[in-house]
């Protein structure tokens, strides 16, 4: 069983569009897959893969938050200076803990001389396991608004996907990643066997692709890239040679055509349509199958 992640650095380059179509095409070829949405801040793959059945929908509670019992507080303010995350400020006579900025590390509790601080477990997000209308298992999660534990929630999504894959004897776990290169993305990339970078022909997207490629290389992960919306600017040649030079394999172009917007609006993978973009998607899929999945 192998794991493949789709990432981009810059957001909006087409990760979810590609992920939904790859899932659809893999399934069409009777390859046993489990699909996971690792963009836990703003998950959206379920809009295109449509859950026909929800198997479980559970709160994940591994975040921790500090809270202050004012009646015990000696107002020494040691906690204010101990916090490395600027989560405690002095408001009036008491320290005030901002629950959005608190990381629950417990440093304030350690320095408090009057045991006025408690650390409590709180909700990190919601984990949903279901079956896509196309028939394969699908794992997704939604981070609690303002939370900081997105990486840990991604870990939970991935272990759930692995558990299902092991039980079903799946060949492949396909992971749709978050934008960026931070916590949720490092958690998405660690341990995958191949990363597919989706980029578009603009300098901003090139920059994002190069940064996420650097992260992939940092973890020793092989990668390839797809130029999405390849026909929208003449920056395409530049981006292909720039990324090849950095050691990523070129996997193909996908042009922008109206079917992509239509598919998105109708909540279906673009590969389900017959269009220029969808034919290009199939070509990219066969290339990915050959170089990344070795299937």
């Amino acid at each position: 069983m192998i794991e493949v992640a789709i990432v981009s650095g810059k957001g909006g380059s087409g990760k979810t569009t590609l992920a939904s179509s790859l899932a659809f095409l893999l399934n069409e070829e009777k390859i046993k897959i489990v699909v996971a949405d690792a963009d836990v801040d703003t998950p959206s793959l379920h809009f295109l893969l449509q859950l026909k059945e929800v198997i479980s929908n559970l709160n994940v509670n591994f975040s921790r938050k500090a809270s202050l019992e004012e009646s015990l507080c000696s107002k020494c303010m040691k906690c204010v200076y101990a916090c490395q995350f600027s989560a405690i400020t002095i408001t009036g006579n008491f320290p005030k803990i901002d629950k959005y900025l608190c990381e629950g590390c417990g440093a304030c509790k350690i320095v408090c001389p009057s045991s006025a601080i408690k650390i409590e477990e709180t909700t990190t997000g919601k984990l949903t396991v279901g079956v896509s209308k196309y028939g394969f298992p699908f794992v997704t999660a939604q981070l609690e608004l303002g939370e900081h534990n997105s990486g840990a929630l991604v870990d939970t999504v991935r272990s759930k996907a692995r558990e299902i894959a092991a039980k079903n004897g799946a060949d492949l776990i396909l992971i749709d990643g978050a934008p960026g290169i931070g916590c949720p993305v490092t958690s998405t990339l660690v341990g995958v066997s191949y990363a597919i970078i989706v980029t578009e022909p603009t300098p901003a997207s090139e920059d994002g692709a190069k940064r996420v490629l650097e992260v992939a290389k940092h973890f020793g992960i092989k990668s390839g890239f797809v130029v999405n919306k390849a026909n929208i600017s003449n920056y395409r040649e530049h981006i292909v040679s720039a990324l090849e030079e950095q050691g990523s394999e070129y996997l193909g172009d996908i042009p922008l055509d109206f079917s992509v917007v239509k598919a998105l609006s109708e909540g279906r993978p673009v590969a389900e349509y017959d269009s220029v973009a969808s034919r290009a998607m199939r070509k990219v899929f066969f290339r990915i199958k050959e170089v990344a999945l070795k299937l």
Binding site: S8, K10, T42, Q84, I110, A178, P179, V261, S265
Partner: protein, 290 residues
Amino acid sequence: MKTNLVAVVGGKGGVGKTTVAVGLAISLSKSKKVLLVDSDVDNPNCHESLNLKVQKLKDVTSFLPKIDESRCIKCGACVSSCSEHALFMVPKTVPKLLENNCSGCKSCFYSCPVAAIEESSKVLGEVFFAEKNNIKLVGGKLKPGEARSPLVVEALMEYAIGEAKNYDMVVVDCAPGVGSTVTRALKKANLAIVVTEPTPLGINTLKLSTMLLEKLSIPYLIVLNRANVSQEFRERILEEHNVVAEIPYDNSLIEASAKRSHIIIEAPNHPASLALVKLGNKISNLINLD
């Protein structure tokens, strides 16, 4: 003095936050001194649209423990204090550090009974700056391989808030998402602009972003980007929300970005540019009224 801080958020990546933030900064800079803050530290892009070379202002570092083996009494207090499981020990040996797991919270430092932990640090990223006409750009950049973007945002915002008094207006371009990278950038915002697009994904992230802003009690305006790509979803958004500006999409926006420029510079009379200027005026007026 009150800081005039407007933050541009969007939830979804690639929805047009940077296009709006940079367009707003350029439009406001005609009559005001503007500080533009790029808080998308995973992928800062504002300098691309302004065609600016950025310079490093300072490193962003976080605490890293260094154990003095001669003083360590191998009690394990630091190991049990570490909520990230970055410290571990084989019984009766000096604890070992897994540097990648360390959040820099200093709990180990505070819990050590014999002061055997010294303060060391690691670089998480940097704060950079650049200047052009009436706009000063400051931004943060996470080092690839590091995961703690919120801490780079925190250092950037601390610097930006300190600088804010020298400017009429601060415009903050936020990261995608609705997690703490965004909440840290929103800390001092007195107004937010939520950018969305007429797709099911846009509608969903609009909902998440507005819920977050309501929880944080920050007033917001909604901007509909690529307003012309779906009439059906555009109408759905307009039915439910008060949209203050609609930015139409066509290829000239991409061409401008491929040239490391912005539509408002390349084509000042383009409907997208006019919409951004109008938005700038609206925000100026809102702030003058205050």
